[in-house]
């Protein structure tokens, strides 16, 4: 018998059990992990990074001035190629180097690899390289280091959070020209990159290169956040190995850090839900606006912007509810302290969402990046720099089921790590492990909520 189902049940996957049962299984994994943590983990393990220096020669070579100049020059060169391709190349988004390089290779590649190896963006950051070179040149000419204004500490990382949302807005809101397609123009991306470069260099001139990179430069803050999960770090001119995830515990002490990680989760969620779970409500609001005489593009962008901000608000609300719940446990620190103190536990979740939503997209698009886009960056069809212009994307590389299992695994592992970091931090605030465990019931609820929400978004998007 065939049931007359409209659409959503007819999934393209051929899973042995319904997708929602994976959410139940994932929740059980989280609950079991939670009780295992409370039974066996009674002292904080991640507050100390347990640094072990790497070999002196390797450290000196990798952090030497020529190596820094080389990495910076590579970053500036690649940004230049992307901007040039955007301005002069084809308007076909899939054939222009700029879009895949900025929105896939950098935007997804740096978080994925930084989460393993530590912050990889910092040495290649083109704006940092230009800012440092300009500062050095100024010092040589003027005979003194450039003077900077004191950064308003109350702003914290809020400029980075806003910049992050703005970047995603350009990609998924501004670039969406119809209710069914995302079609951002490479030219618009190149202009946005130039505008952002001017803004960033101006801010670096005002507040200092390193200060702005740590607080306001959206990409440095965003990629650096994932880098805190990785095993390598640099301090005082030497490289060291550290305990995985341990550097994350000190990341969120700056105001606005929670907003950055929440913005990351919200941006990924909104991108995944835009054509899936939110499709019907977006269409309804869009029709409401256009029925009242609003232009189609304006109506669509306004609708998407409202939903994107609402997603940010919803993710923030779930986290705040968890924090509010912890306040009820005797001996709890202030709400503000808890909000800051547990923000880093969301970093693995942000990474899990990123992997779950974009892993397959990354695998497919990187074939294009290192295939025809590398040989023909402008997409004109007239150049073949490396003889790879005929290489096409093999969409059979990953099956639908393989993608689904990677998505589920990413979400479960990310949330278990989040739970582990939260439990570890709770032991700092409540040295009595029973109270620490009681406080973490609420974070368990937050993690289960994010896991189920993530799986729901994926199941609808895959459906």
């Amino acid at each position: 018998m065939t049931l007359p189902v409209a659409h959503a049940l007819a999934s393209r996957q051929d899973l042995p059990i319904p997708a929602w049962l994976f959410a139940w299984a994932a929740s059980i994994v989280l609950i079991v992990s939670f009780f295992a943590l409370s039974a066996a983990w009674r002292k904080p393990q991640f507050e100390d990074e347990h640094r072990r220096p790497l070999g002196a020669r390797l450290s000196t070579a990798l952090l030497s001035l020529p190596a820094q100049i080389l990495c910076g020059a590579i970053g500036v060169f690649l940004l230049g190629v992307a901007v040039y391709a955007g301005l002069r190349g084809t308007e076909a988004p899939d054939r222009n180097f700029a879009l895949t390089f900025l929105f896939v290779t950098c935007w997804l590649g740096f978080p994925f690899f930084s989460a393993i190896f530590g912050d990889l963006f910092r040495p290649f950051n083109p704006w940092r390289a230009i800012g440092r070179a300009a500062g050095g040149a100024f010092a040589k000419l003027a005979g003194q280091r450039p003077a900077h204004l004191a950064y308003p500490e109350r702003l914290g990382r809020w400029p980075a959070a806003v910049g992050l949302l703005a970047f995603v807005w350009i990609e998924v809101v501004y670039g969406r020209t119809s209710i069914v397609s995302v079609d951002i123009e490479p030219h618009a991306v190149a202009v946005a990159a130039l505008v952002y470069s001017v803004y960033t260099l101006a801010m670096m001139a005002v507040f200092g290169v390193e200060k702005w990179c740590d607080r306001g430069e959206a990409f440095s803050v965003y990629f650096g956040m994932f880098g805190r999960l990785g095993i390598f770090g640099a301090r005082d001119g030497s490289l060291y190995r550290r305990r995985p995830f341990s550097a994350a515990t000190s990341w969120a002490t700056v105001p606005g850090s929670a907003a950055v990680v929440i913005a990351s989760i919200a941006a990924t969620s909104f991108d995944g839900a835009q054509d899936g779970a939110f499709k019907d409500p977006i269409e309804s609001l869009f029709n409401w606006f256009t029925d009242r005489g609003m232009a189609l593009t304006t109506g669509l962008r306004l609708t998407d912007t409202i939903f994107m901000l609402a997603t940010f608000g919803a993710v923030a609300a779930v986290y705040m509810l968890g924090v509010r719940g912890m306040r009820t446990v005797p001996g709890a620190p202030s709400f503000k302290q808890l909000r800051t103190g547990f923000a880093h536990t969301l970093i693995p979740i942000a990474l899990a969402y990123l992997v779950a939503h974009y892993f397959s997209f990354f695998v497919f698009q990187e074939q294009a990046q290192f295939g025809y886009l590398l040989s023909d960056p402008l997409g004109t069809g007239h150049t073949d720099l490396f003889g790879t212009v005929a290489n096409e994307v093999d969409y059979k590389l990953l099956s639908a089921n393989a993608i689904w299992y990677v998505q589920v695994a990413a979400l479960v592992i990310g949330h278990v790590i989040g739970l582990m970091l939260a439990h570890d931090r709770a032991l700092v605030y409540w040295p009595d492990y029973r109270k620490a465990t009681a406080s973490q019931y609420w974070m368990l609820a937050v993690m289960v909520a994010f896991t189920c929400f993530g799986l729901y978004l994926l199941s609808v998007a895959n459906g």
Binding site: L3, P4, V5, A6, H7, A8, L9, P18, W20, A23, W24, S27, I31, A277, D280, G325, T328, Y441, W442, L444, A445, V448, A449, C452, F453, L455, Y456, S459, V460, G463
Partner: protein, 56 residues
């Protein structure tokens, strides 16, 4: 025929169930603890009252 044409629109309910179970368990636990605390406080005040009565 079963009226299931748009049943797919309600699949989200299945994703909410685990969250409700966890939140329900937390609230139940919190209420039970609060009640136990109140009962303990009540017992100790009764014991204290007994002593006062004895002294009187």
């Amino acid at each position: 025929m079963l009226p299931v044409a748009h049943v797919g629109h309600y699949l989200w309910v299945f994703y909410v169930i685990p969250i409700l179970i966890v939140v329900g368990a937390i609230l139940r636990n919190a209420i039970a603890q609060r009640r136990a605390g109140r009962d303990e406080a009540g017992e100790s005040s009764t014991a204290g009252g007994g002593k006062i009565t004895k002294r009187d």
